[in-house]
């Protein structure tokens, strides 16, 4: 595939990178060097290394980790079972459709559902439990975030499971491997690329979540994304906002280096 056609195929993509990635990064880096009065300074970078922002970084990573973990936990079995259904493509589409309804509306619905007098508490009461305020807790925050990210995790995993040769699974079972061993030694390694890409598309944006930190967590959870939004829209300190963004991008690059495909020889053993 090392041909001229594939190089020219790359052209629109490279153009996209130049215009919509490199240019904004340059802009963000430029702004990160300006203080609130527009003078050049490195103060913003110094400010990032204060306890407030370090704490925020830590909590961003922690919640992003939790969200990714639970999303994976829910999505893998879902994707696995979906591949076994009769109309699997249709069911898969039905997983995505809810994500096309406006998020703010769904959030309002969640506020109603989780509410003291909402259906969920009514349901709990049937079993004799006292109604509980479930909003504005870590649990509700992680729950709604997982809800948002589920389709993004299911799709790549489904795609890699779908092409999995069932003969391999049967062979493993015939050779006496337990269901768990089969999963661990055969299925999981063969779907690793899908899982990896799922983790990337969940973890990376989860780092910069905002909005629902307020809507569902009532600002009890503060992430770097929230801080950036505040700096841009409330304080109008684009310098500090950009600085945080620079760090977010750095964190992302580090994550990419860790999870990146080290193999480049091609011709993987299958």
């Amino acid at each position: 595939m090392q041909t001229k056609t594939s190089k020219s195929a790359l052209f629109p993509y490279v153009l996209w990178i130049a215009l919509f990635v490199i240019a904004p990064i340059a802009l963000v880096v430029y702004y990160s060097l300006l203080d609130i009065h527009g003078n050049f300074t490195l103060d913003n970078y110094k400010a990032f290394f204060t306890s407030v922002y370090l704490k925020m970084t830590l909590s961003s990573f922690w919640y992003a980790f939790l969200i990714t973990f639970f999303t994976l936990l829910v999505s893998y079995p879902t994707a696995y079972f979906l591949t076994k259904t009769k109309h699997k493509q249709l069911w898969l589409l039905l997983i995505i459709i809810p994500s096309w309804i406006n998020l703010l509306l769904k959030t309002y619905a969640f506020i109603g559902i989780f509410g003291l007098y909402g259906p969920l508490n009514a349901f709990i009461e049937v079993f004799g439990f006292d109604p509980k305020q479930m909003l504005f807790t870590d649990i509700s925050f992680v729950f709604v975030s997982v809800y948002i990210f589920i389709p993004f995790m299911i799709l790549p995993i489904f795609n890699s499971l779908d092409r999995l040769n069932p003969a391999l699974v049967y062979a493993a079972r015939d050779l006496g491997a337990s269901a768990f061993t089969t999963f661990r030694r055969v299925i999981l390694p063969l779907t690793m690329d899908g899982v990896k890409s799922g983790i990337q598309v969940v973890f990376i944006p989860a780092l910069s979540l905002f909005m629902i930190t307020r809507l569902i967590a009532g600002n009890r959870v503060i992430t770097l994304g929230t801080a950036i939004e505040q700096q841009f829209l409330v304080t109008q300190n684009w310098g500090m906002g950009s600085t945080i963004a620079v760090f977010l991008i750095l964190f992302m690059v580090i994550i990419m280096l860790i999870t990146g495909q080290k193999k480049d020889k091609g011709g993987r053993v299958r």
């Binding site: 990178i17 904004p24 309804i101 406006n102 309002y108 619905a109 790549p156 890699s160 990337q200």
Partner: protein, 265 residues
């Protein structure tokens, strides 16, 4: 193929119930005469009537759908080509750099993307409105497509391509008959998630839009302060039902058609 066990069915059922619960909740209240998503007073269709009387809202809805469809389509094309290009890059450092650049827009919060695109567009003189919104949506949807197509490309068996080439296939044939069909599920996944990105976006659209052009998200978020009207619920309900009908209908038509022609995909 083995049948699903009962517990697997229950598991799937729960996942679907949770995914659809908020949607049914807000559709339920679209029939509420009370005017808010709180206490249900009595059944009414007035909010649906209001949707069809409000031509401004209808135009906004149509704009939203057009931008979503076109931006998803264009970004799918760019992203797929990009992913194919990325796997041909032999140097692993170069490849990781490309992938990192690819993900910059995923990690950047919307306000930053919106503000920097706004500066970019006004700098190069693109009129704010449909074109700028479409361009912005294409821009932030490309990375998700790349990330969806990439794993399919990576798991593709190289010998498949070599075999095709040995059998005398041209490069174009390989692309059309081997690579694209193989990565097709990834392409569709990328397309559908690009749709999600586009339909969900508020902040970027807000910054780059103008001259009367608006999307449903912008409209809904700006209503928050004075209270979101149930007309929005009604319109979302309508969109939801139309989408489900289209998707289910399309699925059965194409699956029947492919059965008739004996296609495999």
């Amino acid at each position: 193929m083995k049948k699903l066990s009962a517990s697997a069915r229950v598991y799937l059922a729960i996942v679907f119930i949770v995914l659809y619960a908020p949607i049914f909740y807000l559709i339920f209240y679209s029939f509420n005469s009370g005017g808010t998503m709180n206490s249900f007073e009595s059944f009414t269709l007035e909010h649906y009537k209001a949707v069809f009387e409000d031509s401004r809202l209808l135009v906004i809805l149509i704009n939203t759908v057009i931008v979503a469809l076109l931006s998803a389509l264009i970004s799918t094309i760019i992203g797929t080509l990009g992913a194919i290009g990325i796997v041909t890059v032999k140097d692993s450092k170069m490849r990781n750099t490309l992938l990192s650049l690819n993900n910059v827009l995923i990690v950047s919060p919307d306000v930053i993307i919106g503000a920097s695109f706004l500066i970019l567009f006004t700098m190069i003189g693109i009129k704010l409105g449909f074109a700028s919104v479409l361009l912005a949506h294409v821009a932030f949807s490309v990375p998700i497509v790349v990330l969806m197509v990439l794993p399919k490309l990576l798991e593709m068996n190289k010998s498949l391509i070599d075999a095709a080439l040995d059998l005398g296939a041209t490069k174009k044939d390989v692309m059309m008959r081997v690579i694209l069909p193989y990565i097709q599920p990834g392409i569709f996944a990328g397309f559908f998630l690009a749709l999600t990105y586009s339909l969900d976006d508020f902040a970027v659209t807000f910054f780059v839009t103008g001259n009367g052009f608006s999307t449903l998200s912008v409209e809904i978020y700006s209503m928050a302060r004075a209270g979101i009207s149930l007309t929005v619920n009604a319109i979302s309900g309508l969109v939801f039902f139309v989408t489900v009908i289209v998707v289910v209908g399309y699925y059965f038509i194409t699956s029947r058609a492919s059965k008739r022609t004996g296609g495999t995909q």
